[in-house]
Symmetry: D2
Subunit: 362 residues, 4 copies
Amino acid sequence: MKNTIGNSVAVTLFGESHGEAIGAVIDGLAPGLDINREYIAHMLTLRRPDGRISTPRKEKDEFRIVSGVVNDKTTGTPITILIPNENVQSGDYSQMKTVARPSHADYTAECKYHGFQDSRGGGHFSGRITAALVAAGAICKYALEQKDILIGTHVKRCGGVSDRDFDNLSEDVKDLNEKVFAVLDEEKGEAMREAILQAASEGDSVGGVLETVILGMPEGVGEPWFDSVESMLSHMMFSIPAVKGIEFGAGFDIVDMRGSMANDPMRLEENKVVTTTNNNGGINGGITNGMPIVFRTAIKPTPTIFKPQDTIDFRAMEEAVLSPKGRHDPAIVHRARIVQDAAAAIVMCDALAMRFGTDWLG
Amino acid sequence: MKNTIGNSVAVTLFGESHGEAIGAVIDGLAPGLDINREYIAHMLTLRRPDGRISTPRKEKDEFRIVSGVVNDKTTGTPITILIPNENVQSGDYSQMKTVARPSHADYTAECKYHGFQDSRGGGHFSGRITAALVAAGAICKYALEQKDILIGTHVKRCGGVSDRDFDNLSEDVKDLNEKVFAVLDEEKGEAMREAILQAASEGDSVGGVLETVILGMPEGVGEPWFDSVESMLSHMMFSIPAVKGIEFGAGFDIVDMRGSMANDPMRLEENKVVTTTNNNGGINGGITNGMPIVFRTAIKPTPTIFKPQDTIDFRAMEEAVLSPKGRHDPAIVHRARIVQDAAAAIVMCDALAMRFGTDWLG
Amino acid sequence: MKNTIGNSVAVTLFGESHGEAIGAVIDGLAPGLDINREYIAHMLTLRRPDGRISTPRKEKDEFRIVSGVVNDKTTGTPITILIPNENVQSGDYSQMKTVARPSHADYTAECKYHGFQDSRGGGHFSGRITAALVAAGAICKYALEQKDILIGTHVKRCGGVSDRDFDNLSEDVKDLNEKVFAVLDEEKGEAMREAILQAASEGDSVGGVLETVILGMPEGVGEPWFDSVESMLSHMMFSIPAVKGIEFGAGFDIVDMRGSMANDPMRLEENKVVTTTNNNGGINGGITNGMPIVFRTAIKPTPTIFKPQDTIDFRAMEEAVLSPKGRHDPAIVHRARIVQDAAAAIVMCDALAMRFGTDWLG
Amino acid sequence: MKNTIGNSVAVTLFGESHGEAIGAVIDGLAPGLDINREYIAHMLTLRRPDGRISTPRKEKDEFRIVSGVVNDKTTGTPITILIPNENVQSGDYSQMKTVARPSHADYTAECKYHGFQDSRGGGHFSGRITAALVAAGAICKYALEQKDILIGTHVKRCGGVSDRDFDNLSEDVKDLNEKVFAVLDEEKGEAMREAILQAASEGDSVGGVLETVILGMPEGVGEPWFDSVESMLSHMMFSIPAVKGIEFGAGFDIVDMRGSMANDPMRLEENKVVTTTNNNGGINGGITNGMPIVFRTAIKPTPTIFKPQDTIDFRAMEEAVLSPKGRHDPAIVHRARIVQDAAAAIVMCDALAMRFGTDWLG
């Protein structure tokens, strides 16, 4: 449904990069959930550019909850979060109004909105909007944690450097949630940051892979045929700008396995059904099996670079060369990571409410 | 919405592998579309197991259209397609009723449906149900072709063998639509089939990669934030059993590119905007840009193999060893290919109707 | 969503009056619900024309459940009910193909479907399709009864005659469910039937009012702002052909009351909150309050009459006079009553599943 | 979907009477529509209490559009309207927190939200929220007017006084849109106001009937079975607090007509199909027929009165007597009228976009 996602728990996103405010409405969350403003602020901080390897644009991301919360408890009615835009320098983007930035939405927005789209800073397509998604997801993620459902994401790969695999899942996840640059191996993280800075120094950008785990989801959540947990998660993740792929469990590596290798043997552990491998990423037939849900997304390099690029002016309909100015990230993968956490939390809340009713989280 | 997908064009799937019939209801298609029964039958044939490398289960897949069509034209009201189940040997599956087949939905179905699920042959989770999806998608695919929107899928990789890349897209797509085992390079196809038979001879199975292209989609189709074309397609594709990953354009390979490499330069060709590369797979900001839409899916090896596997009996809650009997495919990737075509066609019809209204296809 | 209604429990309707079959798909019902085929058959019988005051078209309404049910228990996956069409005499309707029957959907269907609609016997707009709605609702109604949620409808008014008001609700409701012509006062019922036959003898038709009560619904069901129980019920009821109005509780009579008269005083009865009047029909702010849900619908007289009527030929675009032949009911209010029961049952199942989760009914 | 309504054009409502702000998000409107702020302000003024017969609570209803609009044109992305709450005197409502106001949502909200609902001034259930619906609807209504689709509502009945019937529809509608107390016959309006003041002087309240006409809707809009125009409009109207009934065309009066009286004869007028009566209110088979859409709603008397009423304290679970204080309307029917206009406009925009695509209004 366009800018609304979810069945039992639905999130509606609105706003433009250089408009008055961005925000989200969350509908369907159980009444009585704790709103932890520090937790929300912390997640917004993790999404925000840090001075060193990201754009200097400094947003305080002061959020305001204007509905659905009384005395820091959810009322059960729609929660509206507003994040005013500050520090806006529209001037920087003047050239971009008609000259398409390659691999951005400038041209497709023109095709769809016939020139009425807000083109300042990417408008409604700006990664900036993910701040509202993070704030909404933070409420969901905190609520899930109260039910011992934990979500964590690390930068699995960036600038040609790979992070180590998960080892002790619950400890690793808790560590990740405290980190600004979320990697399991700090040395790899440092190497990634150097690769990002190297690209930046060349006016270029890099991409990466984000890996998310969700721990503690009960069995039996998800719906055939069309609301499989994989379908719901992928639908959401492809809404995050720059995501070009998603895979669950062994993902694309599974294609070269034999069935005898790929199948996850099952056994009992303290009378709980577990699998000895998790090539299916915690999901069979679209339904959770009680194992950790594991997925990875492919994040493309930031499209805005400081090298001249061939493009077109879609008003004049003539070819052009673009030489961007302004503020841009040489990488967003390390920032997208918290967006992925938040987005996954929203989907889990929806899937749980579909299955167990509105009050289950309460 | 569980077993219904789509906004303006919606498909509802029903049925079980060993029930009386499977089928689909397609709602929202324009009135006056031609129903080409040979075309539908042809696509059903392509999904069907061939004697050589697939299960000998022979379904004639006689379909009946019981509503929504008069004189082989769509009426504009719901089209219901029924495919009776034949040649059912429930006996083969007796053991599986309580002993979970690893990496199948047996255990998760038990968690969700508390033992009331139809466990015969996978019941509602059976790949058999995709026959109904293919029939529904065949109507959509044929309608799209009348508008010069072409869809084709090839087995990009199987059993460790890779097919060649697309060369002349429209010719390649037309060729693929005639092939039983859809590859661009027949020698590679033969090698794949040998790999499948080799695995089969060892009681094992293989997976693969399917690559789909969609040609001729107009620009400006798709919706931020949550109904991006990528979101809609991935939501649908993860409903197909065995799909564990999806990637668009350069997909996961984009993560190691620099922005200057990954960005698709734009230029004018006969006053039409084109890009000189297509790393974004025809989609920017979730909206079509007029270039071919390209995506690949990861298909896991058929989980049913003829080797003993550790598993559990979920009624007795005790560990067990499974030694399957019955009829099974050593690979389904070559059959899933036509399912992917059909599924993509349904999503394109929906996206077009959302954008241009119900009658656009008519 | 066009021919699908419901959030957590969704029903999709398909078929045409003179097509091969009509039917419904019910998705989202809990697994393990009993399917009582006699109960379904009984409700279908109550919808069927009786020889005396209704069209002689005799449908056996043999229904087949082709998916979602094993051993007469719901599996939790989509339930598909098929009702083959029999005794079809398309010839009777030949004239109607281009000459619009006043107050029927002939002309509006032409506007929407551009001549591709199935015009035989009203096609997809035929009251015949309600048989599928009744079969689907019968499953829901039976499931609700197992939870002591009872639904009953009587002909409150027909042919200028009014039935008595409800007295002992639960007894009255049980009685109604056994009756072919559902009135609380048999003498009034006889007078209504005479009025119908009188109209019939003059080639004319009559309408009426249907009053439905729903007993035993728990408090706190329904959603502000847009999924109020009144919104959900009215959305459904206006899908029933011939319904032109709906009112809850005191309905339109409330407009001449003072607030002091209209308000329902509250008190405690065995520590349960009750109201001493029920002018709000069991719903406040769109949410159930535990009192009986009461609503009435206005059913227009059957539009097909045997008097010449001014109309138009929408193909020739010229004025015409229509003199119908064939089989028609002088009234459908007494048959619509069971459709209203069934439709209400579907909405209640959906509202309960939205609130308490998929398994609540199980 | 709870607090979101609409398919192609969707509106999400949020906020509480005494919270920081109320508002609405409108998604799916075509790009390039004019935003007429005076028009929006005018409609908000018409909803606002006037000093004489309504609560003295004075809201300036200063609205802010924080997204989706640039240079007073819609961008095509979500439009968010915020209306800050002012002049809030929560103290007035202290007693109401646990003592249910009869015929209000206090008790049902407690049942659903377990005490976490915002009970100040009715919270999310307050008629106050309709200001946001009016602002959203004003944008839709203005857009429809640019397409010569006009909507008007008058107080058909109030305090036992009935307004005259529509005479010259388009002139009457234009007049109504200028009036604070919308009646066609000013003398009847004066009599209604006197009846309201009389009730007020007795600490009581009155209800009424609102009649809406929609002119200029094209034929062929609306969907069988479940998105009939009647279903969509009634779903919306029952979301408006105090609405207890809705009827289309002749409505409940049709039940005592014979078919020969009730049917609308058809003829040609300047080669356009018209009906000589409009007992079906412009809708056949759920689809518009090109005649004016006519419907009436039953508005119950304001539940808050200044007489002692028997009720319960739902926390203490004991009986109580309520003697309200504070600010209340002796009638809201004259204010609800503009809400009904706005709500109808939203539904028409949605129905048109479903039928003709997103850009049709643009």
